[in-house]
């Protein structure tokens, strides 16, 4: 993938993930761990849903900031941390959708045309076009499952539905994606 979005900061090249204090609290440690394991997944979900790289970055930053502010309210015994984080990210993404009122350009990076495996490249183009034909709810399910790697249980928690319902919806979304991909998969 290539970086096509606007630069958001300069002179920052190293990853700094450290607790703010010398004696970090459990909530801080848990948040850091959650951040490290979920940063790219949250971005992938937001980008897959919004199809706008800059908006996805805003949503990702907003989601982690909100999660950071609320980190002490999260009770690990009451739910999965990733599901909690993606619930926050989903609200941020939907708020962004509401603000925009429209969808932006395709977010996926262009497929490398020079790839020796032309058949695979064609499949990717078809897949990207197929994703664009899905409605946002279906695309959200695909993003949660295949971009972010959430289990059906976590998807159900994020969407606020039962696990079986989440599985059914996901199956329908995959089926529709196959249909719009004209049998490429």
């Amino acid at each position: 993938m290539t970086d096509q979005g606007p630069a958001r900061s300069k002179g920052v090249s190293e990853t700094l993930v450290a607790a703010a204090t010398d004696a970090p609290r459990d909530a801080d440690l848990a948040f850091d761990e959650l951040y490290l394991s979920s940063r790219d997944d949250v971005y992938a979900y937001a980008a897959g849903l919004l199809r706008d790289r800059a908006a996805a970055e805003d949503v990702t930053a907003t989601a982690f900031e909100r999660a950071y502010r609320k980190r002490s309210r999260f009770d690990p015994s009451r739910g999965n941390g990733r599901a909690w984080l993606f619930g926050i990210a989903r609200n941020a993404a939907l708020d962004e959708l509401r603000r925009r009122g429209r969808q932006a350009e395709l977010v996926s990076d262009p497929v490398d045309a020079t790839s020796p495996d032309t058949e695979r490249s064609e499949q990717r183009l078809i897949l990207v076009a197929g994703l664009a034909k899905l409605d946002p709810r279906e695309r959200e399910l695909i993003a949660l499952k295949f971009f972010s790697g959430l289990a059906n249980t976590e998807i159900a928690a994020v969407l606020g539905v039962s696990e079986s319902n989440a599985g059914t919806k996901l199956h329908r979304a995959v089926t529709k994606l196959r249909e719009v991909c004209d049998g490429a998969f």
Partner: protein, 378 residues
Amino acid sequence: MERSREYEDLAVALAEVRPAPREDFAAELDQLVAAGFPRKTRLGRLRAIVVRFHGLSLQRRLVASGAAALTAIAIATVVVSNTGSDPAPIAFEQHATKQSSEPGGVQYSEALPQVAGSAMESSAANGSAGALQESAEALKGYSTSPSTSLLSRATHRDIERSAEIGLLADPADVADDSAKVFSAVHDARGIVLRSTTTAGRNAGAHFDLLIPSARLGDALAAFSAIDEVRTRHEATTDITKPTVATGEELQDSRARIDSLLAQLSTAEIESERDAIEAELRGERRRAARLRSQVARLHQRADFSRVSLRIETGTSATSAGGAWGVDDALGDAGRILGIAAGVTVIGLAILSPLALLGLLAWLAYRLWLRTRRERALDA
């Protein structure tokens, strides 16, 4: 089997087109996380406090809320305690009801202004006094001008006024207040019928006064200005009918005396003269009694009885003793009572507001959730 492989192929293909964040963005986000998402504005700090409060556990939030509520109650209690000069509620009775206990007296009610010593009250008093003076003049003219007296009867009323006023004073101020009462009575050209002044722990004073009705309003205003007015009551009685009736009887008696004197001057028989003289003595006694009655009625109309009490509150620090345990307990009970009252009033005000706020918050959450879901359908 074939279907499963197709699913896997789709999963692999989707993983290949999975969006990934730019390195710059990732680094910037890493830095923000490391810095704990620093805030930039004062509003942000306020929001940080709110978020931090939300981040507290339920127990800590309850403790913080309770502490805030206690602080608010304490502040409100101090404010309420300092607002009133006496924390204990004083029944301030200040009304005037005109009534008549005289047989045949006219009974009516009239609301007087409820401002002590106000110009309106003074004006009303002066107007009443003017009527009394005119009524007295009318009575004086009964013997010579009946028609004038009848006109006066039709246009003027004889009003007897009385008043009771209670002042609340510090025990140390009773003597000074008593002196002011004497001074005010002197200024009003009134009469102190009886006075009792007690010093010490149960200090107080009582005065029975006669104040010219024309100056009653000014006098009451002066009394009210001496110290805090605890109670005030004024009463009026219309004594026009008995005054007029007595005056008419006196007029008849004088006419009878004149008639008897005329008969006496023409009587030639000794026994007849004795009988006329006996009747004349009786009629003169009756005339004297009627004149006395008329004079008393005039005095009742011209002078108002005022009963004035100076009392000391039990809460005030006694002049002879120091502030003690009883006073402390009393003060503590009063403060607790005020605090309880403030709490009840606060709850009465805040409970509906809190309920409305909760309903509004729930409605907002529902509305927001609906709007977010609709964003996916757009």
